[in-house]
Symmetry: C2
């Protein structure tokens, strides 16, 4: 992985499970925190709380608001995040280690369908 978030932001991301097929990260921050640019492979996101974030990727910005207990898809991407809300962000990422059979043709910023 090019910019592993566990390396770029070890205080915010930690590995809670890993085997040959998946790696599961737990992310926790507080309002105002920012991440350095990092990459995610295709991942399932599970929100453990509600939050509001500004994501930036290749000069584009997108504000994302998610409620607790949401299951969403994060297609592979590089981005940086900024907690612009007034609550912590708590998220699990189930990362798929295998390469996708059909990589997305366009770059996404943040989760899909949210």
């Amino acid at each position: 992985m090019e910019l592993d978030p566990v390396v770029t932001n070890p205080g915010l991301y930690r590995v809670v499970f890993e085997n040959e097929r998946v790696r599961v990260l737990r992310y926790h921050d507080v309002p105002g925190d920012r991440t350095a640019p990092h990459t995610h492979p295709d991942s399932v996101m599970i929100t453990l709380g509600s939050f509001r974030r500004r994501l930036s990727s290749a000069g584009r910005e997108r504000d994302v608001e998610m409620v607790t207990d949401t299951v969403a898809w994060l297609p592979q991407q590089e981005h940086a995040g900024h907690n612009i809300g007034d609550t912590p962000t708590d998220v699990l990422f189930v990362e798929l280690k295998e390469a996708p059979a059909h990589p997305p043709s366009t770059g996404a910023v943040g989760p899909v369908g949210n």
Copy 2:
């Protein structure tokens, strides 16, 4: 999938997300509930509460006790479950749709390393 739990126990399992790479199920039951035999592909389990269950597979039984907020690996298997505790069971299953590169050689009953 041979015995899809959403088909065998539609009152207990429901699909909360699906795309071409994963399907995410939410399981909820109450003490005393039992599932019919069903199959899981390789899956990440995330417990949303603490519970105690008796799993049975091919004549073998195994009691499993898990605490809330646990991330575990459920290798592909067929089993039936029985809530033998005094709390509901609430679990998310992130099912991997792609076949494993190295299928396990022995049959597991329940999560690994738990």
